[in-house]
Structures are given as structure tokens and as C-alpha cells.
């Protein structure tokens, strides 16, 4: 508990790098095929910062995070890359060292609160388990801490709900309990993998408010994975857009919405019905085609078949991320050969 009080707001702790991932590459083996799930992903996150990771299903956003945490299924292998958390490379740790990090220093919130709990154990036991496991407190202390956590995430009547089983909790309450579980050991980083996708909008709004409030009070860094650009608009400091296992654009949230540059980001924003409502256009602009087959070795830009800006060079080489001028406090980088900004102004 003492650690909680010492953090006073997140403004004065940002700027110090917490996690630095470089060239992370993960492959799946499937029926004799090699699936190129993550192809050299690099990013960093500072202390107390919120990073939004946006992309469609199968773009590698979850696999990137699972790779770092050694939570990949047996068919997958990390074939290259480093992931420095403070000064330790997570990818080089053995399973014992990794267990000390998971839950203790890095918390995880999974998408589906319905299936992430063990149905035959009480919620209180499951939320408190990591405290006992990491030797932070004994059984009685863990129970007290769980009550405190439940109050923090807004579960009413915590003393009684502690002894409830998962089926007695609603979806929204279970997701709150998941957040409590992720926060139990006061981690420095919480990875939230689509935590509100299975919830209704009004419950989503409640969860987002809880997370924002806790982040500001506790100064935790958050990686928020989602497919919904509108959701991270009000939440993230920085946004990273992924496509087919690559980071294709990264910028501060304001910069990304004001100056989207990669054709895929442009397409995603244009396809948002909310974005177009003001224009009262009859048709939604859509991205033609569907996401690429990840079995093929990536040699050209993965977005090429769906891209309306493509030039000859896109078919020959893979575009690498490079910085472009932006207004944000951190660099705006894009993996594209075409300067779409210029093309837009010319039109």
C-alpha cells in the first residue's frame, strides 16, 4: 500500500523508458506452414504512459504482447528481437525468472472476462492469489488487500463479493475483478488486451473511467490493445497502428488523428461511421479486399494489394518505418514510401 501513496500523479514520472522492444519477430508453425505473425516490431513505452495498439484481428497485436510475456502457445516461437523491461531482456529470461515478473511487475487484463476466471474458485481467492504467490502478503493480508482493490475498481459491497464465484458476477463486474487482479501487486505496466470488446457501451464507458482514474492515481503505464480507434482517442498518449505483423504508423494520439499518413490508417479513419456522420455522405468509404495471408514470406509492403497510393517500389521492397515531421512531443513514424500528406494537399 505504501507504494501507492508515494506516486503522486503521472506527470512527473513520464519520460523514463520502462519497456523497449526492438525487432521482435514471432513465427507460428501450422500444418507444415510458417505463419509470419509478428515481423520485426519495435516500440517503447515510458513510465506512466498509455500506449494504444490498434489493428484488425490477426495483425499481431496480441501475439506481440504474449511473446514478451512468454505466454505463446507451443506452436509459436520468438525467432528474433529484444524486449528490455528496465535493464532485463524479457526474451532471455528462463521460466522461473519470468514468473517473478508476470503479475508482479507486469499485469495483464484479458479480453474475455467470462473465460478468464476459474469457475470453481472464489473471485477473492483468484484476485489475491498473486499476492501470496509473490510473497507480498499472507492469506489474511491478501484478503484485506483484495477488499481494498475491489473498492478501488468500484465493486460494491466488497466484503461479501469476495466470497462469490465467477458465475455470480456480471460481465462488467468480472472485468472490474480482472482489473483488480492485474493491479494486485502494484505493477508498473499493465497490458490490457481488448478489455472492453465483450462489454456493452455503457459498461465500456464505466471501465474506461475506472482505468483512467487508476492510471492517474497510481502512475501505471498501460498498453491498451483494441481494434477501435475511437476508444483510444480519449485514452492513449500515443497510438501504434499495426497491420499484418508490422507497425505501420506510430504517433502521439493528437498527431495521428490530425495527420494520419499511412494509407491504412487513412482508410481505417475514413471507414469509421462516426467520422463520416458529420459529412452526411451516403456511402462509407471502405478499404477494398481483405487482410493478407500471413503464410507468405513478406517481401513487399503487406498493404500493397489494398492500397490506392501504391507505386512500383512498394512491390519490390518492404517499407521501413521512418520519421516524418509532426507536431507531437514524440516522433511520428510511418512505414510507407509514399508521402500521402503531400498527395492530399495536391488533390
Amino acid at each position: 500500500m505504501t507504494r501507492l501513496i508515494q506516486n503522486n500523479g503521472r506527470g512527473n514520472i513520464m519520460g523514463e523508458t520502462l519497456l523497449q522492444v526492438t525487432n521482435l519477430t514471432t513465427r507460428f508453425h501450422s500444418r507444415g506452414n510458417l505463419i509470419h505473425a509478428v515481423n520485426g516490431v519495435s516500440f517503447k513505452i515510458d513510465k506512466g504512459e498509455t500506449l494504444g495498439v490498434v489493428g484488425e484481428s490477426g495483425c499481431g497485436k496480441s501475439v506481440t504482447m504474449l511473446s514478451m510475456l512468454h505466454l505463446l502457445p507451443p506452436a509459436a516461437r520468438v525467432v528474433a528481437g529484444t524486449a528490455f523491461f528496465h535493464d532485463k531482456d524479457l526474451l532471455k529470461l528462463n521460466s522461473r525468472e519470468m514468473q517473478r515478473i508476470r503479475g508482479n511487475h507486469i499485469g495483464m487484463i484479458f479480453q474475455d472476462p467470462m473465460t478468464s476466471f476459474n469457475p470453481v474458485l472464489t473471485i477473492g481467492d483468484q484476485v489475491g492469489e498473486s499476492l501470496i504467490y509473490h510473497n507480498i502478503s499472507n492469506r489474511a493480508g491478501a484478503e484485506k488487500r483484495v477488499i481494498e482493490l475491489f473498492r478501488m475498481v468500484g465493486i460494491p459491497d466488497p466484503e461479501a463479493r469476495l466470497k462469490d464465484y465467477p458465475h455470480q458476477f456480471s460481465g462488467g463486474m468480472r472485468q472490474r475483478a480482472m482489473i483488480a487482479m492485474a493491479l494486485a501487486c502494484e505493477p508498473e505496466l499493465v497490458i490490457a488486451d481488448e478489455p472492453t470488446t465483450a462489454l456493452d457501451v455503457t459498461i465500456q464507458a464505466q471501465i474506461v473511467e475506472v482505468v483512467k482514474d487508476l492510471r492517474d492515481r497510481l502512475g501505471i503505464a498501460i498498453i491498451w490493445i483494441t481494434h477501435d480507434l475511437s476508444l483510444v482517442a480519449g485514452l492513449a498518449d500515443r497510438i501504434m497502428v499495426m497491420y499484418a505483423g508490422n507497425v505501420i504508423e506510430e504517433a502521439t494520439t493528437e498527431d495521428l488523428f490530425d495527420q494520419p499518413t499511412h494509407p491504412y490508417t487513412l482508410g481505417l479513419l475514413a471507414a469509421l461511421p462516426a467520422f463520416q456522420a458529420s459529412k452526411n455522405s451516403k456511402r462509407l468509404s471502405s478499404i477494398p479486399g481483405s487482410p493478407p495471408d500471413l503464410r507468405a514470406e513478406p517481401t513487399s509492403c503487406p498493404f500493397l494489394p489494398r492500397c490506392s497510393y501504391a507505386i512500383n517500389r512498394c512491390a519490390i521492397e518492404m517499407p521501413l518505418a521512418h520519421e516524418i515531421p509532426g507536431n507531437g512531443s514524440t516522433p511520428h513514424s510511418v512505414a510507407c514510401f509514399v508521402n500521402t500528406q503531400e498527395r492530399i494537399t495536391v488533390q
Partner: protein, 326 residues
């Protein structure tokens, strides 16, 4: 869009209750009030959307209207025909005219049927096509939904989610329906694919003069596609009216809260926007609150709301609302 004053579909006071068994041995009986006195009309060529949180009864309303569930009370009219009093056999000719697209394109196609057979089946059942011309009609339908004729001999697993949803749409269109219930047709799809399917639905509506009942929880999609919107809460309609009225000038406190909960894709306003976050959750439909179902979460609730169910009344601007305060 030509909107004639005669409604194509008329739903009057429908109720759908499901009996359930509770307790460890199923000894306690209870009733889920899934749809509780809902009335609306849908006009030729328009799109009426039903929105609400999960469990509010929007899908059940759609199914009851199609007679996939038989209503506990109330009547559903298709033109002048009272569907609720027809037997299953008598209903069959009308099933051609009222069709449905389900949410999940992964579980609604038979994995052992080729796409061609799946699309041909309803046409053969209803004797709209003969063995000689069915192949030609299937190809035409596939073209309508943006697929090539190569799909005919392939199986569902060879297609992506978006393509499968196109196949489901082709199958729903096979019998030349006039009215389609679209039950969350895009919520299982990726963002970049959702826009394609919405455009397709709008193109088909124009081409065949279709009427849609669009069931969804994504409010921004609903704002784009519909002419009128109905907001449901715990088995009852809270507000129903012209899209622009409901979205830009909502009257019911639940509509206001629902709209406020939707994240906007604008970081400049979104980070400082004060949202009206509803406290609590949807109460159980087994034991709905007395009076107005929304009163335990409503910021405007008074004693009257706890006792009396608000009347479903028409406002001056043509919308319907059920609220004592508005």
C-alpha cells in the same frame, strides 16, 4: 427513398416471455420478460434500427416478428396478414418475403454444403427456380453481393468472415424478399470489412427496394444506415423516432446516457469531454424493476417513476417516447 404511408410491417403490443427453471435442481420456476409490450411500424423502403445493450430484447423482437419465436401476446402484421395467427404451414409462403441475416457468419453456413447448394436450397424449396435455371440464378446472386462464380463449388471454410457474410446475404436474397431483419450483421467482422458490408446492404436496398429492420449495438453504424431509430431498454422501447431527432436531440434519459457513452474519434474533445456515465448495470429481466424499468439508474427518477409504467406516447415532432420526465 420512397416512403409510402402504408406500413409494410406493423407490430402491436408484442410480448415474449420465456419460462426458465432456477435453483440447483430446477425446482424454482421464473419468467424472463424478454420483450414486454413493444409496438412499432416499419414503412416500405426504410431502415428502422433497434439499439440497446445486450439482453434488452432487440434480437428477440426481431425473431418474434419473423415468427421464429411465437409471441406470448400481441400481433405482428405483414401488410394485411396477421402472421401471429398463421400455422407453420400457412406461414411458409410469407417466409420468402421476410428473411433474416444472422450475426455470426461462421456458424450460420453448413460446413458440408457448397456455397452453390446453400444458396440454391431456399429457391428450390420455394419453387422459385427449376433445376435448369437455378445455377444461373445463383451466379446472379453471387454477383449481386460482390463474389465471383468460382465460389459456387467451394465450401464455407475457404472464405473469410466478410465473404461469408456476403454469402449469407445472397442466401437471404434468394427468394426475392421485401423485408430483411439484419441481426447484428457486422459486429463479428473487422473494422475495415464492416464498411464494405454496410455499403453492400445499402446498395441492395436501393436496387431491390428492400425494407430493413437493423438490429445493432454500434450506435455510429446505426446513425449511418437508418431512417428511424428505436432505443430499447430491458424489453421495452424507450424512444423511437427520426434518426436526426434521436441522435441530435434525444429526450429519454437512457438515450442520452447511451449516446454519451460512445467514444468519439477526436482526441482533442474526447480527452476532456465530460461523459454521463450510467451507474450500475441492466437489472435482471426475470425481476424487472417496478414502474419505469430504467428508474434505478435514471438521474431524473421520481416517486412516480417507481410506481407507474410510463405510457408509450407520441410527441409533437412525431417521435414516440416512454418517460414521465420528458
Amino acid at each position: 427513398m420512397n416512403t409510402s404511408p402504408e406500413p409494410l410491417i406493423r407490430v402491436e403490443h408484442i410480448k415474449k416471455y420465456f419460462p426458465v427453471k432456477l435453483g440447483a435442481y430446477g425446482d424454482k420456476k421464473a419468467t424472463v420478460h424478454a420483450v414486454d409490450d413493444v409496438s412499432f411500424e416499419i414503412f416500405q423502403g426504410e431502415t428502422l434500427s433497434l439499439v440497446g445493450e445486450s439482453g434488452c430484447g432487440k434480437s428477440t423482437t426481431g425473431y418474434t416478428l419473423l415468427q421464429l419465436h411465437r409471441a406470448t401476446a400481441g400481433v405482428c402484421f405483414y401488410k394485411d396478414v396477421n402472421l401471429t395467427e398463421l400455422s407453420d404451414n400457412q406461414l411458409r409462403p410469407y417466409r420468402q418475403k421476410i428473411q433474416i441475416i444472422f450475426q455470426d457468419p461462421y456458424s450460420t453456413l453448413n460446413p458440408r454444403m457448397t456455397i452453390g447448394t446453400a444458396i440454391a436450397e431456399p429457391m428450390m424449396t420455394h419453387k422459385i427456380a427449376t433445376k435448369d435455371n437455378v445455377a444461373e440464378k445463383v451466379v446472379q446472386l453471387l454477383k449481386d453481393v460482390g463474389l465471383t462464380e468460382r465460389a459456387v463449388n467451394r465450401y464455407p471454410h475457404e472464405f473469410s468472415g466478410g465473404q461469408r457474410q456476403r454469402i449469407c446475404i445472397a442466401r437471404a436474397l434468394a427468394c426475392n424478399p421485401e423485408f430483411l431483419v439484419c441481426d447484428e450483421p457486422i459486429s463479428a467482422l473487422d473494422v475495415s470489412i464492416q464498411a464494405q458490408i454496410i455499403n453492400l446492404l445499402q446498395d441492395l436496398q436501393e436496387k431491390y427496394n428492400l425494407t430493413y429492420l437493423f438490429i445493432a449495438h454500434d450506435l455510429s453504424v446505426v446513425r449511418h444506415i437508418s431512417n428511424r431509430v428505436g432505443v430499447m431498454y430491458l424489453g421495452k422501447l424507450a424512444e423511437l423516432g427520426d434518426k436526426d431527432l434521436v441522435f441530435y436531440n434525444p429526450l429519454h434519459p437512457y438515450t442520452k446516457a447511451l449516446l454519451s457513452a460512445v467514444p468519439q474519434p477526436n482526441p482533442h474533445t474526447e480527452k476532456t469531454r465530460k461523459r454521463q456515465v450510467l451507474t450500475g448495470e441492466i437489472p435482471s429481466a426475470i425481476n424487472p424493476p417496478s414502474g419505469c424499468h430504467f428508474h434505478p439508474r435514471c438521474p431524473l427518477a421520481t416517486d412516480l417513476c417507481k410506481k407507474t409504467v410510463p405510457e408509450w406516447r407520441k410527441m409533437e415532432d412525431g417521435r414516440f417516447i416512454a418517460c414521465h420526465a420528458a
